[in-house]
C-alpha cells in the first residue's frame, strides 16, 4: 500500500512514516501542498494524508487540486485545527475523511485500510 503524507512538521512526517512503515506501507512525504501535488503525480499513492495549515498551498486547496488531476484520489485530512465546521469544509472539498490530532494509531490505520478496501 502506497501512502503520501503531506505535512509541514518534520517530526509529524517522521512519526507518520514510522507508524505506516511498521504497518507495511510504502511511504512518500511532502512538506507543503505544492510539493504534495508534484509528489502525487509521481507516486500515484493509494491514500493521501493531508495537513491543513501549510505554507505555499494549504491542505483544502491542495485537496481540490489533487482531485482535479485524479477524481478518484482518496484523501484523509488530518489536522490540529479543531475549528467547528472545518470537518465539513474538508469533506465538501472532496476529502474522504477528517481526523483530528491527536489521533489513535488504531483509528488512523483502520481509516486507511477501509478506504483502500473501497
Amino acid at each position: 500500500m502506497r501512502i503520501l503524507i503531506i505535512d509541514d512538521a518534520p517530526e509529524m512526517l517522521r512519526a507518520f512514516r514510522d507508524i505506516l512503515e511498521a504497518h507495511g506501507c510504502e511511504v512518500h512525504a511532502a512538506e507543503n501542498g505544492e510539493e504534495g501535488l508534484a509528489r502525487y503525480a509521481e507516486t500515484k499513492p493509494d491514500v493521501v494524508l493531508m495537513d491543513i495549515l501549510m505554507p505555499k498551498l494549504d491542505g483544502i486547496s491542495a485537496t481540490k487540486k489533487i482531485l482535479d488531476i485524479d477524481p478518484f484520489a482518496k484523501i484523509i485530512v488530518i489536522s490540529a485545527v479543531g475549528k467547528s465546521g472545518l470537518d465539513n469544509e474538508c469533506l465538501l472539498a472532496g476529502a474522504k475523511k477528517f481526523i483530528i490530532k491527536p489521533f489513535k494509531i488504531k483509528d488512523l490505520l483502520s481509516s486507511i485500510d477501509s478506504l483502500v478496501a473501497q
Binding site: M12, A80, V81, G82, K83, S84, P102, F103, K106
Partner: protein, 378 residues
C-alpha cells in the same frame, strides 16, 4: 388644572421659595418684580430695591450682551410665544440657563413677561465630569476587550500548536504499547504507562483550552440526537468508580421517575458528568459518599451530584463557573492539575442546551451541583 386651587393664597410664598431667579418686566422693560433669589444670586447687580428700574440696570451688561436677552424679550412681547431657553457661558466659568414666558392678561394683549434664570454651573460641571468618565470608561472597555481578544486568540493558538507535538509523542507511546517497536521489559512497560497517562492528561488540558476558546467564540457545536441521561450517567459512573475506588469512596446513582428521552449532545453531556464527578471525587475525602440523583421534573430532567466533601465558600460559589477561576487565596476549592476550565466548560455546554447549572454548598458540609436539561429543547 386639578389641585391648583390649593395654591390660592400662597402664591407669594411659593414664588419666593422657588430656587430660580425670577424677574417680571413690563413692555418698557421696567422691573415689576424680582424674587428673593434674584437678590441672593450672583446675577444680581443690586442688593435691594430694583422695582421700577430698567432691566439693563439690574442685571450685568455682560449677561445682556451674551444672551441678547433684550431682543428675545421684545420678540416674546411681539409674538406671544415663550422663549424656551438657552444656555450661556459666563466669564469665570459660570453657566446660566434662562427662559422667557409671556403673561397674558386679556386675550392677545401681553403686558408682562417673566424671566427665569438658573445658575447651572454645578450641573454643567457634573455633566462634563460624567462625559469624561464615560469616555474613560469606553476607552478602558475597548482596551479590556482587546486584551480579552488577544488572550482568546492566544488560547486558541496555543492549543492548536500543542496538538502536533502531543500527537507525535502520543504516536510513539502507542507504538511502544502496541509492540510495534519491539518487546518491552516489564519495567519499561510500567514507565510507558506513566508517560501515557500523563500525555492523556495533557490532551485533556488542550481539549479544555480549545473548548474554552470555542465557548468564547460561540463555536461550541451541539450535535443533537435522542439521548437518555441515565444511560450516560451509568457509563460515566462506571469509568469513575476506579478513580473513586482509589480513595475508597462510594459512588451511587438513583433515578427517580420514568425518564423520557431528550434531544441533546451525548458526548458533551458526558463531558459535563465527567467534569462534575472528577471534582466531586477530588474534593471529597477518603471513604466519602458521592450520589448522583436524576429526577424527572415536569419541564426538564434535573441532575444532582451530591458529595459530602470539603464544600465551597460562599464567596467562591458565584465565581467557580468562570473560566480560569481556581478559587480565592486560601480556598480549598483550588483545582490542582487543571486550569479552572472544567466548570466553565460544563456551564457552556449546559447553557448551549438551554439548561441551567448551579451549586449549593456549605464549608465542611459538602457540595451539590445541579443541572437541568429541558425536555422540549429544539
Amino acid at each position: 388644572m386639578k389641585g391648583i386651587e390649593s395654591v390660592q393664597g400662597y402664591q407669594e410664598e411659593i414664588i419666593e421659595a422657588i430656587p430660580s431667579t425670577i424677574i417680571i418686566v413690563n413692555r418698557r422693560l421696567e422691573v415689576l418684580y424680582a424674587n428673593r433669589n434674584y437678590y441672593a444670586k450672583s446675577v444680581a447687580k443690586r442688593e435691594r430695591g430694583v422695582l421700577g428700574e430698567r432691566l439693563s440696570r439690574v442685571i450685568p451688561s455682560m449677561l445682556i450682551e451674551k444672551t441678547g436677552i433684550i431682543d428675545k424679550i421684545q420678540e416674546v412681547f411681539l409674538t406671544g410665544i415663550p422663549f424656551d431657553g438657552d444656555q450661556i457661558r459666563y466669564p469665570g466659568g459660570m453657566f446660566y440657563f434662562y427662559k422667557i414666558y409671556p403673561l397674558k392678561e386679556h386675550e392677545e394683549s401681553i403686558s408682562k413677561v417673566v424671566i427665569f434664570m438658573e445658575n447651572i454651573t454645578e450641573l454643567t460641571r457634573l455633566e462634563e465630569e460624567l462625559r469624561e468618565s464615560y469616555v474613560k470608561l469606553e476607552n478602558a472597555y475597548a482596551e479590556l476587550k482587546e486584551n480579552d481578544e488577544i488572550k482568546s486568540e492566544f488560547i486558541s493558538t496555543a492549543s492548536h500548536e500543542l496538538r502536533t507535538p502531543i500527537t507525535v509523542i502520543n504516536s510513539y507511546i502507542e507504538m511502544f504499547q502496541e509492540g510495534m517497536l519491539g518487546e518491552l521489559t516489564n519495567i519499561q512497560q510500567e514507565k510507558i504507562e506513566i508517560i501515557s497517562s500523563q500525555i492523556e492528561h495533557m490532551i485533556r488540558l488542550v481539549e479544555d483550552m480549545l473548548d474554552t476558546s470555542r465557548l468564547e467564540s460561540r463555536a461550541l457545536k451541539i450535535n443533537k440526537s435522542p439521548i437518555r441521561v441515565d444511560d450516560i450517567a451509568r457509563t460515566v459512573l462506571d469509568d469513575m468508580r476506579r478513580l473513586a475506588g482509589l480513595k475508597e469512596q462510594t459512588v451511587s446513582l438513583s433515578v427517580e421517575g420514568s425518564l423520557s428521552e431528550l434531544e441533546g449532545d451525548g458526548r458533551r453531556i458526558k463531558q459535563v458528568f465527567n467534569n462534575l464527578l472528577t471534582n466531586a471525587i477530588k474534593y471529597t475525602p477518603k471513604k466519602g459518599k458521592i450520589r448522583v440523583i436524576i429526577t424527572d421534573d415536569p419541564k426538564d430532567i434535573r441532575i444532582s451530584i451530591i458529595d459530602d466533601g470539603i464544600g465551597i465558600a460562599k464567596k467562591d460559589q458565584s465565581r467557580i463557573f468562570e473560566k480560569f477561576y481556581t478559587g480565592s487565596g486560601s480556598s480549598l476549592i483550588k483545582e490542582s492539575g487543571r486550569m479552572g476550565l472544567g466548570l466553565a466548560i460544563a456551564k457552556g455546554i449546559i447553557e448551549a442546551h438551554e439548561g441551567r447549572i448551579w451549586v449549593a454548598s456549605e464549608i465542611g458540609k459538602g457540595s451539590t451541583f445541579i443541572f437541568t436539561l429541558p425536555k422540549n429543547y429544539d
